[in-house]
Symmetry: D2
């Protein structure tokens, strides 16, 4: 029943999320989660028109009820016994580079509620579907992939709001990799170390040329590669950066 397996992408926007959704849509029906329909409507239409299948659901990852409700919608759409081949957590929030004492409490909350709590809620919502994917003998081991950042491994001055959430998310991914790997679910974490080439960043770093930014499609290829690793060869973590990036 491979046809029942779906892919779920949280944090769909103009960059990584959309590229990942397109990539996985070539093989699976995809569910696009974002707070605002604006962020998934065009993409869902594009995927559906080009022969794939996509549905968008408004959901706030920092609200466990919202995610539970999204799963109900998924089950209505794809059947009560639906399994997932992939669940990708690409949401983040709370980035503000400022002196610590000037960062409003809300910014910290946003980072921690989206990255830490959001990652947890998303995992609790999707892991049952991924385990169903294992039962249903998905061709590739079901994958739960988290998008990290430089700030997932390095906590620079004035970056506490973003880094606290991202470190927590990385901790989550490591614990889940250890718990769910033996159950057949492949949990991974990608450290995106650089600027992603999206419309919003197009004007950035002009002096370094087009190769100074990460390709969102390239990231999607790498996520797909993680997904296709066999159970004998699981990777928990990859880092990704432009060749010219200083690190």
């Amino acid at each position: 029943m491979a046809s029942k397996l779906i892919a779920i992408v949280a944090g769909v926007g103009p960059g990584t999320g959309a590229s990942v959704a397109r990539k996985f849509a070539a093989t699976y029906p995809v569910v696009l989660l974002a707070r605002k329909p604006d962020n998934y409507e065009g993409l869902a239409e594009e995927i559906n028109k080009s022969g794939g299948k996509a549905i968008g659901i408004s959901a706030d990852v920092s609200d466990s009820k919202s995610l539970k409700s999204a799963v109900e919608t998924i089950k209505k759409e794809f059947g009560e016994g639906v399994g997932a081949a992939a669940a990708i957590f690409n949401a983040s929030g709370g980035f503000l580079r400022k002196p610590f004492l000037e960062v409003p409490e809300e910014v910290f909350s946003q980072s921690i509620d989206v990255s830490a709590k959001g990652g947890i809620y998303f995992s609790q919502a999707t892991l049952p579907l991924l385990l169903k994917g294992v039962e249903q003998k998905s061709q590739h081991p079901p994958a739960l992939i988290f998008t990290g950042a430089t700030a997932s491994v390095k906590s620079n001055a004035q970056m506490a709001s973003f880094a606290t959430g991202k470190w927590a998310l990385r901790a989550l991914s490591q614990s889940l990799a250890r718990e769910f790997g033996p159950q057949g679910v492949h949990v991974s974490h990608a450290i995106i170390d650089g600027v992603i080439d999206i419309p919003r960043t197009r004007e950035w770093l002009p002096q370094f040329g087009p190769e100074a930014k990460l390709s969102a499609d390239g990231i999607a290829n790498d996520y797909w590669w993680l997904h296709t690793q066999p159970v004998t060869n699981f990777t928990w973590e990859i880092d990704l950066r432009p060749a010219v990036e200083k690190w």
Copy 2:
């Protein structure tokens, strides 16, 4: 005006918090923060009787208003311009070793609200006092010390709730060390890697003898050592474990 400098300890209980409070009380008036007065009343009395000065304040570190109110109380007690020589964050919560899908949402929230948000709120509340300590030329550089755990650097299976909060706290401490070190405040993080010898754990690991557990007074000595390092020689992180601990 060294006499105006105080030490603030959050998360006072029967173990590390109490030992740290006693140690710093030998030099500074200490402020004891805990949610329940039970946790600081006896200790405050003990310190006051033995020639030191201690006041206890009920405060919930996961609630920024509660911490702001505690600072108001501190200023009423020690003067509007009071500086701090040390602020020690020893609170934690949300420890539950269980399959991830069986951990209630509340446990995750507790860990993240106390360790991640609590650490942030405590730092935003105390750093202004520590910076005053710098201005007032404290004998030793004012110190902001965070108590970490094995789970601050390793996120084991079934430990996601505790680890997410603790990794976030470590990220916070690293960012603050980089931002406030140049301003004269010494920010440190201690990885407590083992069982602490307190009444509650006395019966644990009997087969390994008394040396298999960390001494809370020993931890307090190490925090004091961190505090006395000069500005030319700051340590951000130490790990601490019994010699016999397997790691």
Copy 3:
């Protein structure tokens, strides 16, 4: 002149080295380096018979002269201006799990001479060819890949001999990634965290089944994946382990 680009594999044996050589031989002529001809003769024959091209050269990676001589042989075979699309360092030595005071000096030397010095000599010998590969506009960025182990990131009791060499090799790979990435060479390090399924280990871990061991062909696929990443999306490090591995 893509036809001039070659792949060089050091440390060809029955496991990872052979699988990597076969994988890259599908696209490039491969040079097989091993101390003993026994280790490459059969493999070279197999590749040559199946339509690829392979030559074997006896070389000791811990001896810089031996590697320089190997490069001379390569140039005689493939032309003075030959470029490389990939150079893979898969050699290691000096594994002896024993109390530190009982490990003979020679074992430490073997580990350090092969893993640390060998990695350096191999890199100094092959990087000029990889940079030629960049000039010659190889389809995929030329790759320099190092095989690491659990002992590359964790130095357990009684594992000092192996770990010292492996940590040094990882340091080498990180420095080279930073220096040569901007020059177009993709330097990577793979942490192989588990037992590889080769004839010698076939009898190991029988209780865990065939999925408890890493597939050498799987590792080769992952090295190929690293090689095909575009310059916008370089990965320095991956970890690889069986899903059931405890870590």
Copy 4:
């Protein structure tokens, strides 16, 4: 028989080594090891004149025979059954910040032979004396301390020669901490992250003032602190840097 316990310092020069020797000489007779007598003669004289006891021995840590011979000299001087309270490895070599392909083979060898092999030989030579120190019930747990650097944890571009040796040394220290901690020997590693204030560096970083450099006496105090930690509270690793250091 505390009087029989000695301290051994390898890599005595004008900076950390001398400060450490002076600090430990306040409690123990000290043995000063350096390749050139110039490096220890003045210091030995200074210590002996000021009421301590010091002997200097010419030794090359990268040569195991030289270290074995030094131990013979120590036994002749202090008795066959002499125990050690501390052994501090402060030697290093092979620092050359240059493009990798321009670094001569000898520089790599120097780094690796001194830092990696030297650390191993020094440990094999001194651990039997430290274990004797445990038997002889030294007041503080016998300590084996290694001096590391920024390059022990970060391997920057053009720093491969220094970093390979330093990462290997850190691996050694971690393995030994795990093996010998349970036997009562406290093994530690100090990451010195900054410029040390010694005559040779006095002119460096003038713009940052005297506090921009690490105090060698401060490092010595920290090593002494590590030595005095009880068996219940061992620290494996500390980092040390000036408050103003960017990291």
